[in-house]
């Protein structure tokens, strides 16, 4: 075993408080820490201002406070090819993609991990709220101790050989503790606001952003019984279960998106949060990743269908083509194609996949895609 000072850890630094504290903790533990900022997106505006410049500046200041070397690496091309192209393709297909899952899979824990290894690193560390457990040589991923911040949902595509080379220094901590440490050490990022939304869109208007890349095709809004309820701005702007932005007035329960018909460009709406059209009993997921080997054909575990959702009990059946059938113990509301389904056994994240089809009583709900 190498001692800490001979162990090089590359920390992926975003300029936020989490990765700052991750670097600080590793430095305190005596590791040979190297901070690296990833530039994945060019958002330079007409005035030449770009948020990446400000974020990198924060990385520089934190690294100087910690007295660790810092560098930057540009993955704009890889990000565009692997994440943004996927993101647009999914929207084109009427689905709701999860670029964070893809970014972790293709960029942070692939391209960036390779980069770290090429710098002689023994480990790559990030400020994610998740934990790695070495279970007698088997590397497992556990939920972050702060259940409110747990990010394993976004990390479901990681594999064992990746986890072997990864550190999550914040995994056992709460966000509050992290902020307290940052303040205690006077890190310049201590009070920095958490980033929200999809990284490349930032604070901008999502609709506006998407319309720059995909032509919006307005169409009609109907109930599943064919009653016209108004116009929609383009199917890509809506996700299953959404309430805001429909503009349907009148009395009675509020209206929700229950489905989409891509061919006829129709947005299906239904009344009431608990509208039965929003409920399903099972799903089929593709791109399934098991973090640790999973041979049982059928097993029971818990699952999340969205980030920060409470776990639900499901029965998973592995299919011959690598997809999985996931049957819910209780009917689930607003299962959305394109989003991730992530599986857990207690605190251990087993892996996950992309929701492809949504079924009710064994029949695919064609209207949700």
């Amino acid at each position: 075993m190498k001692n800490n000072q001979d162990t090089r850890v590359v920390v992926g630094m975003s300029g936020g408080v989490d990765s700052s504290v991750a670097a600080l903790l590793l430095k305190e533990q005596g590791y040979d820490v190297v901070g690296i900022f990833m530039k994945n997106w060019d958002d330079t505006d007409e005035d030449g201002v770009c948020t990446a410049t400000e974020d990198f500046d924060d990385v520089v200041r934190v690294c100087n406070q910690l007295d660790i070397p810092y560098f930057a690496v540009n993955f704009e091309k890889q990000y565009w090819d692997k994440v943004f192209t996927y993101f647009l393709d999914e929207y084109k297909a009427g689905r709701t993609p999860n670029p964070d899952v893809m970014c972790n899979k293709e960029i942070k824990f692939k391209a960036f991990l390779d980069h770290a290894m090429s710098l002689g690193a023994d480990y790559l560390a990030t400020g994610h709220y998740a934990q790695v457990r070495n279970n007698n040589g088997t590397f497992e991923m556990l939920r972050g101790a702060d259940s409110n911040k747990d990010q394993t949902y976004f990390l479901n595509q990681l594999t064992e050989d990746v986890l072997e080379r990864v550190m999550f220094p914040l995994g056992h901590m709460t966000k509050q503790e992290v902020r307290a440490i940052a303040e205690e050490h006077g890190l310049v990022t201590a009070a920095k606001k958490d980033s929200t939304g999809i990284c490349f869109i930032g604070e901008r208007n999502f609709k506006e952003f998407l319309s720059e890349y995909l032509p919006a095709q307005p169409g009609t809004m109907k109930t599943l019984d064919g009653v016209e309820k108004g116009k929609h701005d383009g199917l890509m702007y809506y996700t299953i279960g959404q309430r805001q932005g429909l503009g349907i007035g009148g009395s009675g329960d509020p209206w929700f998106v229950v489905g989409k018909d891509l061919e006829d460009n129709v947005l299906y709406v239904g009344q009431g949060f608990d509208n039965e059209k929003l409920y399903s009993n099972s799903l089929i997921a593709s791109d399934v990743n098991w973090i640790n080997d999973r041979t049982e054909e059928t097993f029971t575990c818990t699952a999340k269908f969205r980030y920060r959702q409470k776990d639900s009990t499901v029965t998973v059946t592995q299919m011959a083509n690598g997809n999985v059938h996931v049957a819910f113990n209780e009917p689930q509301r607003a299962i959305t194609p394109g989003q991730a389904v992530v599986f857990y056994d207690g605190d251990v994240c087993l892996g996950g996949g992309t929701i492809d089809k949504v079924l009710k009583h064994g029949q695919q709900l064609a209207y949700v895609g």
Partner: protein, 386 residues
């Protein structure tokens, strides 16, 4: 681990003798050179003495030397200042695609102000073509700005021939000689140079000081407003300690120019030879024959700049890609893109090594060994264990 500095084109370590010359000035010679009392006169004496040294170093008259805050300001003043003052004679400015950003961005500013700017291309060796310049010249051309030595590739440009060509043209000839000064002989009169930029910190002098040579009679608008310093061309109280340090650096540079040229050529050859002996795959960008002693730009196929530079630094070796950074990440070099075309692999896998005072016959080969190790590790596809 011994740190080795191979980035002298970015900046140089200050010569101890320069620091020694400056030290007493800070405290003892505090007068304002413009003041009409003994304190002012003493300061003015130092300033005048330094100006004389600058002038002699390029065969100019001391009235033709304007002290500035450095190379960037001198380039800006030369290009923007003359263009604005001579607009009545024409609206056309010529420069090249491979200039330092201090010139390039000044030219872009002029475009915004309504000037026509021609950016001359360079050939695959990184040299600007006289014929292309001839073709670009019009009756409207008022300024031609072409660097003496390129800061990324070290390629020496045909400055004298350009000066000759412009001899019977109204256009002023400006050259940024920041990388050339101290190693090449410069005679502004013989070479037909009207404006020339020099920076102190590239020749083991202090940062924050440089000069612009502007030939007698060159009409130039000031870009800064205030007092009457530097014959009204550059208002602001002079930085006397820096000027004195600059003077010392110039004296030292002139003293042993030939010897230093030989030393740096030896370093360059040792470095290249050692890389080759180590079996590293590389090519030298540009034309060694026409390059300055202190700079070599090397392409390492199958690598990329960011990974190389980071690895070098973690191994204690300082070099650079010579190009600007955005958010800390390295953009493809505009100079190499001008030579090889956008998208050429060499624009993203080339490193500039530049030799100078920090280097020795021991640490240059040592640096080559470190480079070789890293390049082989990265291109060999082996997952390394340190």
């Amino acid at each position: 681990m011994e740190h080795i500095y191979m980035d002298h084109a970015a900046t140089t370590p200050m010569d101890k003798r320069v620091a020694e010359a400056m030290t007493p000035i800070f405290v003892d010679v505090f007068g304002n050179p413009s003041s009409v009392h003994s304190f002012g006169r003493t300061a003015r004496q130092y300033l005048d003495g330094a100006r004389r040294t600058m002038a002699r170093s390029i065969h100019a008259d001391e009235k033709e030397i304007i002290f500035t805050s450095g190379g960037t300001e001198a380039d800006n003043l030369a290009i923007i200042g003359t263009a604005l003052a001579n607009r009545h004679k024409g609206n056309h400015v010529i420069t090249t695609v491979q200039e330092h950003h201090a010139s390039l961005h000044a030219a872009q500013y002029l475009e915004k102000e309504g000037f026509d700017v021609t950016y001359l291309p360079v050939d695959e060796k990184g040299i600007v073509s006289l014929d292309k310049l001839k073709d670009a010249l019009t009756d409207e051309t008022i300024v031609v700005s072409i660097m003496f030595v390129n800061n990324e590739t070290g390629m020496i440009q045909p400055v004298e021939a350009i000066g000759k060509l412009l001899n019977d043209h109204q256009a002023y000839f400006h050259t940024d000689a920041v990388q050339a000064f101290g190693l090449l002989d410069i005679n502004v009169k013989q070479a037909g140079i009207d404006l020339l930029t020099v920076s102190a910190h590239k020749i083991n002098g202090p940062k924050g000081i440089g000069f612009l040579y502007a030939a007698d009679g060159v009409s130039m608008q000031t870009l800064q407003f205030g007092g009457e310093q530097e014959r009204k061309r550059r208002p602001g109280t002079e930085n006397v300690p820096a000027v004195v340090g600059f003077q010392k650096a110039v004296e030292l540079a002139m003293e042993n120019k030939t010897e230093r040229c030989q030393t740096y050529w030896r370093y360059k050859e040792q470095f290249i030879e050692k890389l080759a002996n180590n079996g590293v795959k590389f090519t030298v960008n540009g034309d060694l024959e026409k390059s300055i002693a202190s700079i070599v730009n090397i392409s390492f196929p199958g690598t990329n700049v960011e990974t190389l530079l980071t690895n070098f630094d973690l191994d204690g070796l300082a070099a650079s890609s010579g190009s600007a950074c955005t958010a800390g990440s390295v953009e493809p070099s505009h100079v190499l893109a001008a030579m090889f075309g956008d998208g050429d692999e060499r624009t993203t896998n080339s490193i500039r090594f530049s030799f100078g005072l920090f280097n020795t016959d021991e640490n240059v080969p040592e640096a080559a060994d470190r480079v070789a190790n890293i390049v082989q590790r990265l291109t060999g596809g082996r997952r390394q264990n340190r």
